[in-house]
């Protein structure tokens, strides 16, 4: 029942596991700079998977665009706007100075 499993399949499952874990951590993180760094790690996992799938044009395009430009673009947006994401509405109103006590 256990035939020969190639190294190729094992490496591909490893990179896809990295991608799932990093995507979930991007979703639940409230400090936006940390979330952007997690999404950069996920883009690196996708680049490794694309090398294994024999697509060299896509690797060149994706390394420049996915790892470099998306991270820099979101960091520029965060530096021109705010940095923190509030989960519930009371915390957001409290941070703006509105009196919420009930």
């Amino acid at each position: 029942m256990i035939e020969q499993v190639s190294l190729y399949t094992l490496l591909l499952t490893l990179f896809m596991t990295y991608a799932i874990i990093l995507t979930y951590k991007t979703l639940t993180e409230t400090n936006l700079v940390k979330a952007i760094i997690y999404s950069a790690g996920q883009a690196i996992a996708y680049t490794l998977a694309l090398i294994l799938l024999a697509a060299p044009d896509l690797v060149l395009a994706y390394v420049a665009v996915g790892v470099g430009m998306y991270t820099a673009l979101f960091l520029f947006v965060v530096s021109r706007t705010e940095n923190h994401e509030y989960e519930s509405l009371e915390e957001a109103l409290k941070a703006m100075g509105v009196n919420v006590d009930e």
Partner: protein, 138 residues
Amino acid sequence: MINEILWSYIYASVIAIIAITVYGMASRPHITKKLIMLSILSDTACLMAVLIGIHSGTIKPPVFPGISFTNHPQVGTAELDVFSYEAVDPIPQVLVVTAIVIGLAVLLFLSYIAILLYQKYGTLDVRLIELKREWDSV
């Protein structure tokens, strides 16, 4: 048996990432978090298109090897038979190059709009913008 389990896991993980990002776009209240999830969603769709194009066995990229500016022998049907038996499908890769460019263009435009929204309302939380518009129209 183990081979089939691993390949099912690979396809299921791509679909799981699509599910996580669609849920994240709908439920997170901050606009920058929605933009990050949108970028991950477009990249995952491109990866899934490339996954459909491969075949089992030896995989080679779809480039005929050994050609340069001055060294270009006349290639006939015999060598092309071996080449077309091993190379991967080139058509999904062409469509994905176009998709990456268009995804980058859409995200650039949306982030400029996000910066202008912050100047107008002072916040990027969707619920607070809704409250401000209600209070201003009263």
